[in-house]
């Protein structure tokens, strides 16, 4: 372990999403969609 060296990409299989890039993208997209839905919820005329 080199404490200052950037970590290597994990060789393990990433469930469902296939790659780490995909899962990180999904987290960010999901967070943005949830915030948009919350804003919509607040402004919706019930």
């Amino acid at each position: 372990m080199n404490p200052t060296r950037p970590p290597e990409a994990s060789d393990d299989r990433v469930p469902l999403f296939g790659t780490w890039r995909a899962i990180y993208g999904a987290v960010a997209a999901c967070a943005l969609i949830v915030m948009a839905l919350l804003a919509l919820f607040s402004r919706w005329r019930f």
């Binding site: 404490p3 200052t4 469930p15 919820f41 607040s42």
Partner: protein, 579 residues
């Protein structure tokens, strides 16, 4: 005003007792066969992502978060959800940065990594700060729900502290982190069930003439549904920007540098499992908080049609009755009753107009005015009860009071068991992490460096028990500490961001030196202290200020001293494999 029924039926006691007995038995069963501190502290590093992920979630959601969040939604609306906006992004950053570094270093504590990267002094200081803050906070973790539950259930505080603390200490001392994680899984499943149950009950208990849409329309008119505030005002606590930026820094500090969370994902059986345990939370945390806040909002609407007590905290109410000038409480009762009746009538008229397809705007305005009048009366009651400048804050009593007074057939016992579960899961993780930092960062470095596996395991169990007893002692004395509790809660916010800054220096800047990190940390804490004392900036920004100050000061000191990264000259430093 009505006095809420607080009778806990036999079925409720049975459900609560079954929960307590079952969770302790389960904790002891899964913790059998624990050998060595790797097993005791990190569950043998064999946990699957979903188990570690649920444990991360259970550790974060404490009892007071559960009852406090619903109470906050009742009184101020859903704006608190912004607190969690930065969390998903923080999880991604942590998965990319600290998690791989910690996991591959095979460390027990986050602070152990800092010795490999910088020096022993930085490790000792950061671990000590963790022990100080978490050690005091663990008492509050136990005290706060005990206080609420003792009032609601009619127990003494000592009895509630003994039940929650004693049972948790028992299975954590015996089974260590494996017991913590598996009981967290069960407790988190129970909490999720409880959340859905509460939302369902709150909807079902609305009057027949008020549907869910009507209830949400009432809540919206009373400003209880605001979630995304675009204001750029740095003094407002929960805006989109403080939540996204300040909340992200806070979440990075909490999940990346606080041992109570780091220990959860270090128990993963692979780096992938550790990362997934955090990302699992990134998906679920905000929706979960939304449901909890929605429960509080629905309870708010429910009490439009059912009378509320003058104060939710019966102990405070009794004091008010005993202390207030003759006739004053009676006058306030009559005023609050009239205001409540006016609001009930206005809310019903608003819902009826909506259902009949009539113009509901006049009814909406009448309802809004009645809500403001009731809020004014409530504020007057709380000012009178608390004295000048310090109105009584009893928001934490609202949800438990609703549960105990309105749920039947054992459901009240089940929801109180959920609150117990939330408290015990947080307490268990905190005790385990405090013992880990004490043994790994101090005992094995300064007291006994060559103990056998059996000796280390025994010492680890002893320290777990000692921290448990310390938590119980702080909880028992907390009532007398008064405002010291608030000081304890604020204490962590002074250096959370600063510790994050040290880890950022360690991981992002190969040239940063131990001297830069150490003095940067001190500068960061001092800056946050000054900002908190002399500005009105909201607390979520403290973490940003602390982290950036440490980072900049650390780099400046490194450059000024001509440093090239002291880590490179030590075993485990740049260019050499870690032990």
């Amino acid at each position: 005003m009505a006095v809420l029924s607080t009778a806990f039926a036999t079925a409720d006691w049975v459900v609560l007792a079954v929960y307590v007995v079952a969770i302790v038995a389960f904790g002891l069963w899964v913790g059998r066969g624990t050998r060595g501190i790797d097993d005791f502290f990190l569950a043998g590093r064999q946990m699957r992502w979903w188990a570690a992920g649920l444990s991360v979630m259970a550790t974060q959601i404490s009892a007071i978060t559960f009852v406090g969040t619903t109470g906050q939604a009742y009184t101020k609306g859903m704006s608190f959800i912004a607190f969690y906006f930065g969390l998903p992004f923080a999880m991604v950053v942590l998965s990319l940065t600290v998690v791989p570094f910690f996991y591959r270093a095979r460390v027990f504590t986050a602070y152990e990594y800092l010795e490999r990267r910088f020096d022993g002094r930085t490790r000792t200081l950061t671990s000590l700060l963790f022990l100080l803050s978490r050690g005091l906070a663990v008492g509050v973790t136990l005290y706060a729900p005990s206080l609420v539950l003792s009032v609601v259930l009619g127990w003494s505080e000592a009895a509630t502290i003994a039940l929650m603390g004693g049972t948790t200490i028992l299975y954590v001392v015996y089974g260590g982190n494996r017991s913590v994680i598996w009981t967290d899984v069960v407790q988190m499943a129970l909490i999720w069930f409880g959340i859905f149950l509460c939302v369902g009950v709150a909807i079902a208990r609305l009057p027949a003439e008020v549907g869910l849409r009507d209830a949400l329309a009432l809540a919206q008119t009373a400003n209880r549904l605001e979630t995304v505030d675009l204001s750029l005002d740095l003094t407002k606590p929960y805006t989109l920007w403080s939540g996204l930026i300040g909340g992200m820094f806070l979440a990075m500090a909490y999940f990346g540098c606080d041992q109570s969370q780091v220990q959860r994902y270090l128990s993963g059986r692979s780096l992938t499992e550790s990362r997934l345990s955090l990302l699992f939370n990134a998906f679920l945390k905000v929706p979960m908080q939304f449901l909890i806040l929605l429960t509080g909002v629905l309870v708010f609407v429910f009490f439009h049609f059912n009378e509320t007590p003058l104060l939710w905290n019966r102990a405070e109410l009794a004091q008010l009755v005993a202390r207030a000038p003759a006739g004053e409480v009676g006058r306030l009762r009559a005023e609050a009753h009239a205001a409540h009746e006016e609001r009930r009538t206005a809310a019903t008229a608003f819902a009826t107009a909506r259902r009949a397809g009539l113009d509901s705007e006049p009814a909406r305005e009448a309802y809004r005015a009645s809500q403001l009048r009731l809020e004014h009366t409530d504020a007057e009651v709380r000012r009178l009860a608390g004295g000048p400048g310090a109105p009584v804050n009893d928001v934490n009593y609202i949800f438990p009071s609703f549960v105990v007074s309105q749920l039947r057939g054992g459901l009240a016992g089940l929801v109180i068991a959920v609150i117990f579960a939330a408290a015990m899961s947080t307490l268990a993780a905190e005790l385990s992490s405090l013992a880990t930092a004490t043994v790994v960062d101090f005992y094995k470095r300064f007291v006994n460096t060559s103990g056998s596996g059996a000796h280390d395991l025994l010492v680890s169990r002893v320290f777990t028990a000692v921290w448990g007893l310390f938590a119980a002692l702080v909880a028992l004395e907390a009532g007398r500490l008064g405002s010291a509790i608030e000081v304890v809660n604020r204490f962590g916010s002074y250096f959370y961001g600063s510790i994050l800054g040290v880890f950022a220096l360690a991981i992002l800047t190969p040239r940063a030196t131990a001297r830069g990190a150490f003095y940067g940390l001190i500068a960061g804490m001092a800056t946050v202290f000054l900002v908190s004392q002399y500005t009105s900036i909201a607390f979520l920004w403290y973490n940003v200020v602390g982290a950036l100050t440490v980072f900049v000061v650390g780099l400046v000191i490194t450059a000024a001293s001509g440093g090239t990264g002291e880590a490179g000259r030590r075993p485990g430093g740049v260019g050499e494999p870690a032990p």
